[in-house]
Symmetry: D2
Subunit: 442 residues, 4 copies
């Protein structure tokens, strides 16, 4: 992701724009074929000083101005007069940006695919492994670790689909000339836009979009959601990795997650850094959205804001995804601790199961009250809920001792867990198999 | 939008959930048909104290808890025991939220459609009305006011499309039970989800999504983009309405936009309030995205954040859209000022036209340098560029006096303007005509 | 906080402004004394329709316009012509805002003071109660619960100090007339500003600040920090309240924190809602800061943004503080669980103590390596670190068996804990005792 | 600012921490003097691979871990065992951060001082130069350009004062050991903190602040306000520089602000980039504040977020300030355009002056209505307000023809303008003169 958003990549993108612009103009008969071929060839082979371009950009206001100047200097005399013909700086900068966003989205989709693969493996392997489901960080009732992984997976799968849609939507050329009329191309403007777009594998835009940045905004919103999704998984991993919970640990390199003071520490570093990266990525989203209010035919401040915010957004979102991919790939799962923790509530985690066992006879509302009483009694007395239930007349009038015992087996109270896991696996696999997928997120 | 996000509407949504839950459970044979009918009937007719519910929510942690309590109290004995059977608070709250988001999206789509209609009318009427195109708030070269409106229109049309997609994607039921396993519904869970979803006109979710909030995040991102789009149009209107520019003014009621101190003032109130609303809406986006990191099976802080942030997001985004609809509907356009302003640059706004007229003979780079010289000369001498061009040998060696004069006619230098306007109109109309559209954003 | 930021309170603030304006102008001889007295009297006694004012504000652009209109209508003929003399809408709106911010800051300071009192009580009571210190949510080495509370306290104390400073700085009148020159007051402008400010207990501003919103921005930043501080404490409480940790629980009303599905649940509701409120408050900060770029002599969008963002910021920040005050006031502390958890690391939490005991002889770097080895050995074998240490030759060559045992007593490895707690208590008490404090945050 | 926040500077800061730690520990008799001297000497002379440190930090979780490892390797045998004695990674990282923040604040204060100097020069030079005051971007009544500059100056001066306070408050050492108890330093902890702090010119903290980040949050809020202040000035400059307004232009290098397509353009590049930088800086603020909810004794995600967000915040805020400094230093002011624009409202800009001239006789409310009528009449008829006033009986019954003419002289309707300018100059000068200032922002 660093490479995709490097100064060099941006320069290469602008050169790609200048090349196809010239070629498309030659196709349309607006500039001589020879000149176009020369320009395209220079664009492909020239090495420009990206550092110098960005240093000069601070004075020029855009990197396209020094780039066009340098490119013009390097182009042989006969073709020199046709460089950047009919275009404006923003045409080059925005098209380069589009190419970088497309690459960035592909990279991110690839990372999510790997993350999804790890989730799928965990979902399948631990489909039947009971653990405490937790709401507001209190034990609620049993789930399985496979279900938790399946929920992560379903979210990742949905994001992979979103990235495809957004990729499609933002893969459009920018070409409008200085004020978006293509005035300098006479009658050939629309035709040249189509030809140039095709050469870059982009769609032609309906209209130039110099100051209508909704496509950019959509990318930002989408990456913000991906970053939020990564934080959700990271938060779960960190909570499960707490000393007192201990149900998972990050694996990876042996020296990973140590401490400078504490010899015993094994910190969940990848999930930690994923959370940091996610916060940073999400922080970029309103910057990009707030920058959408761009004035008239070219923004004075808003457009320039994107130049820092978008690369950082991709870097941070990519970082969050990569850290979570690594965390999940090497995740160590501790089934014993899952079992131990389920037992630590002294049966309280099965209170709903008991309620629902009583409900057909007592009504849900009465059953709820009975179990709440028993639950408080249990807590006060430091007993097991199962034991208290056995001793309670209201319960005994409805359930046999055997039925009561059965209520307290977590594996018998998992409802649709299995079906949910299967669905998440099916959806993910449908998306990543060659037939359903396309070449872009391989 | 206030009504959609009122406490009453949320209560109605939760009651709708409780009703279809009971009916679907009866369909699946899990609870008695009579009980379900009774519950559904109470849900339709009962009037609950929304204020009291939300006051108690601060203690209970969710509004569903007091609601279920009140509903249970109001339900006749025989059915009482089957209220909220197998569900959890979040099932009711989230499903109500989905219903409100769906209504909110429909309302917003309707407002955008009206905004689009005003843009379309302006685009058509002023298609040929030249005005100064401005980049970085400097006059650049001529556009038409119709083109500016067409660019607004294209952006609005794209957002209408996005809202449809998002509406589709978020219209899913929430039903997972206390930890997302539907354990309390035994084998019937998945079937009940399908039946309940169908009754509400929602899709059944792949998996319960109590703590996977990517759908909510996508709504936030999308509304943020709509808000940004509104701010772009608002900013343009405000800049055009400046005393020194004066190309448009907000119309509307005669007392609108007055001042308490200045008798002559006509402030662009709608655009001003649209900008404020847009900033507020965009500010909600990272709050919602940042809240996505929800812990395990139910979030402790993040989920609760949505309860304020989402309604505000819809209100502010809706407000921005409504203000811009009103501003554009009553917009007064001043063609004379557009013409005057075009002339105020002393011909500099046609500098690119002159460059492109010279470029076929001199090369774009040389032509650019020549015109930059002339332009500076013009500025220094306080002359007209046209006049200076006539007196310059380099120009005269390439262009006849007649050709020079023609260069300085804005209407001759509009390139693909007309085609762009047509496209924007075509796309908008295709979307809003009954055949292409659907019932939801009428 | 709701009351401070109600529409009524804003109307009262604007009326207070209009009253002192008239009185100060009479003092300066600019308007007749009788007229001023009449106006001031009307302002004190009149009841205006706040709802109507805010409804009309949407057309007028500010609430001051309908307010001045209504006030003028209610003022007897002889004085009517002197209402709002020389002022502009923003003078009234901003001064009302200042009065509300001052009240809001006082309220918040009072809440923090109570929060501080709870922290102080906890710090003192549990000064010597060992618990696991946790870094990156891994047990690190012992702290005491008193120290944790003392760190919360020190942060709260610092915020109380900050609020006092900010209160001082923002308590300034706004009065500049329509463009900030006080032109309509002739030579008397500056004098009237001083007189009016004094009557409201405000400072006169150096210059009118209609479009220079740094004071408002500072309030926003400061409240954002307070909100962040509340979230830190809330997060700690929630983590300590987890079923698997169980070191604290929220107390309060017996039905607080229940669940609609789970009879056994005791959710940490106050801390949960504090986190939500904190996220919302922090989300308001960039909205206010982003709105600072206000155009020329009065902003077109930015100023209007504050009208929603500032009240919400105070409400949310106040809410976070109130929830944490309640959570801490009723906090149930479980010393047994603290002891149990300290033991659950099998002595690993004392690894640094062992390192430092070995370091004088082995050097810190060697000691660190030795203990890291022992620690891994312990983990692999499922043993106690103390036991492993006893069996290790490198340790035995340096420490006696007695010394080893002593290393593993948490209470012996608390360093400066006691001094830190004392400092936090001293600083808090110095701030809240009458001599040191002032009347404003009582 | 790039240098202050470079990886090298961070490494140097951590080495400075390790040096004073050793020296203070020797002072307190905890480690041998020779070892301390050796360590301090290595810290001063060693060159570490900053790139390698940050690469390894991604695995270790903090840059202090690889730094301590490298430093230990480079330290001669006898002293090696005393490196990083009793400290934790965060002690080194946070102290380095404090040193960088202090340098960053000094740099920023210096830039603001220069910006203030330019504002002061403009305020003085153009104190009497009338221009249109504009509210909601409509001409309101006259101000002077000196007053506008004085308002900028007053805001800058207030920010300089704020930076001093914040600098004082954040200049505290971090030293708490692994869980903030300084357990590994026995009884000497507090003493060593004092000694180490003194050696770095920092204050000792009341308590360690590993997870209480309010100081960091305050820096973020303060820099956000500075960034907002810069955006206000930048926005004004850009609006004044519009082709249709033309009252100022950015100067600077002759090739600055050109265009790749438009030979005549002179874009306000510095103000444009200041706005972009300001938006980015403000975007960092909620990231830092949101990261304050750090868990227990060390944050898992929040702390790590600061590592990117704080340097970026300083860079962007510094960038905004530097661009505005440059924009104002070279600002070209166009008095002729100011005069022309004042006349373009056809006297409407003097409507309040006319109202106030009529008010003593008619009452403010009646006078307001009369002038509003005249104003509308003027607009409808395309006349001058002055002319219409002369022809109006209601006006003529109160004012002589001479008095009417006098009303329309802008220079006679400037109220307290002069006094305000003087105040702003006085405050700024008091702050920057050696007696009042201190060494830190020279």
């Amino acid at each position: 992701m660093e490479a995709v958003w490097s100064a060099d990549a941006h320069v290469r993108g602008m050169l790609a724009f200048e090349a196809v612009l010239a070629l498309a103009e030659a196709d349309a008969g607006v500039i001589p074929r020879d000149a176009a071929d020369t320009i395209a060839s220079v664009c492909q082979t020239v090495t420009l000083d990206a550092f110098g371009i960005f240093r000069d950009a601070a004075r020029a206001g855009t990197p396209a101005i020094p780039l066009v100047r340098m490119l013009t200097e390097r182009t042989p005399d006969a073709a020199r007069g046709f460089v950047h013909w009919g275009a404006t700086s923003q045409d080059a900068v925005d098209t380069a940006l589009v190419l970088q966003m497309r690459d960035g989205l592909d990279l991110l989709a690839g990372t999510l695919r790997e993350t999804g693969a790890s989730c799928a493996a965990l979902a399948e392997r631990y489909a039947d492994m009971p653990m405490a489901g937790r709401t507001l960080l209190q034990q609620a009732l049993p789930v399985t670790f496979g279900l938790k992984a399946a929920r992560w997976l379903a979210m990742v799968t949905r994001q992979m689909r979103r990235l495809r849609e957004v990729r499609e939507r933002i893969s459009v050329l920018q070409l409008g000339g200085a004020a978006g009329t293509l005035a300098s191309l006479g009658d050939a403007g629309v035709r040249i836009v189509e030809l140039a777009a095709e050469r870059l594998g982009l769609a032609p835009p309906d209209l130039p979009w110099h100051a209508e940045r909704d496509r950019v905004g959509e990318v930002a919103g989408t990456l913000g959601v991906v970053a939020g999704a990564m934080a959700k998984i990271a938060r779960d991993v960190i909570l499960l990795a707490q000393t007192e919970v201990g149900e998972v640990a990050e694996g990876g390199a042996p020296d990973k997650g140590g401490s400078s003071a504490l010899p015993q520490k094994r910190n969940p570093i990848d999930a930690t850094l994923a959370i940091a990266a996610s916060r940073l990525a999400i922080g970029m989203v309103p910057i990009v959205l707030g920058a959408m209010a761009q004035e008239h035919e070219r923004g004075v401040g808003g457009w320039q804001t994107e130049w820092e915010a978008l690369p950082d957004l991709f870097r941070y979102c990519g970082g969050a995804a990569e850290h979570m991919r690594d965390a999940l790939r090497h995740l160590r799962v501790e089934p014993d601790r899952m079992r131990d923790n389920l037992e630590r509530s002294r049966g309280q985690v099965m209170a709903e199961a008991l309620t629902m066992a009583l409900a057909p006879s007592l009504g849900r509302d009465n059953a709820f009250r009975v179990v709440r009483d028993l639950s408080e009694q249990t807590r006060a007395a430091g007993q097991e809920l199962q034991e208290v239930a056995h001793g309670d007349e209201r319960v005994r009038s409805v359930l046999t001792a055997e039925e009561i015992d059965r209520v307290f087996e977590p594996a018998q109270y998992l409802g649709s867990t299995k079906q949910f896991i299967d669905r998440a696996l099916t959806e993910y696999r449908a998306l990543v198999t060659p037939a359903a997928g396309d070449a872009t997120d391989g």
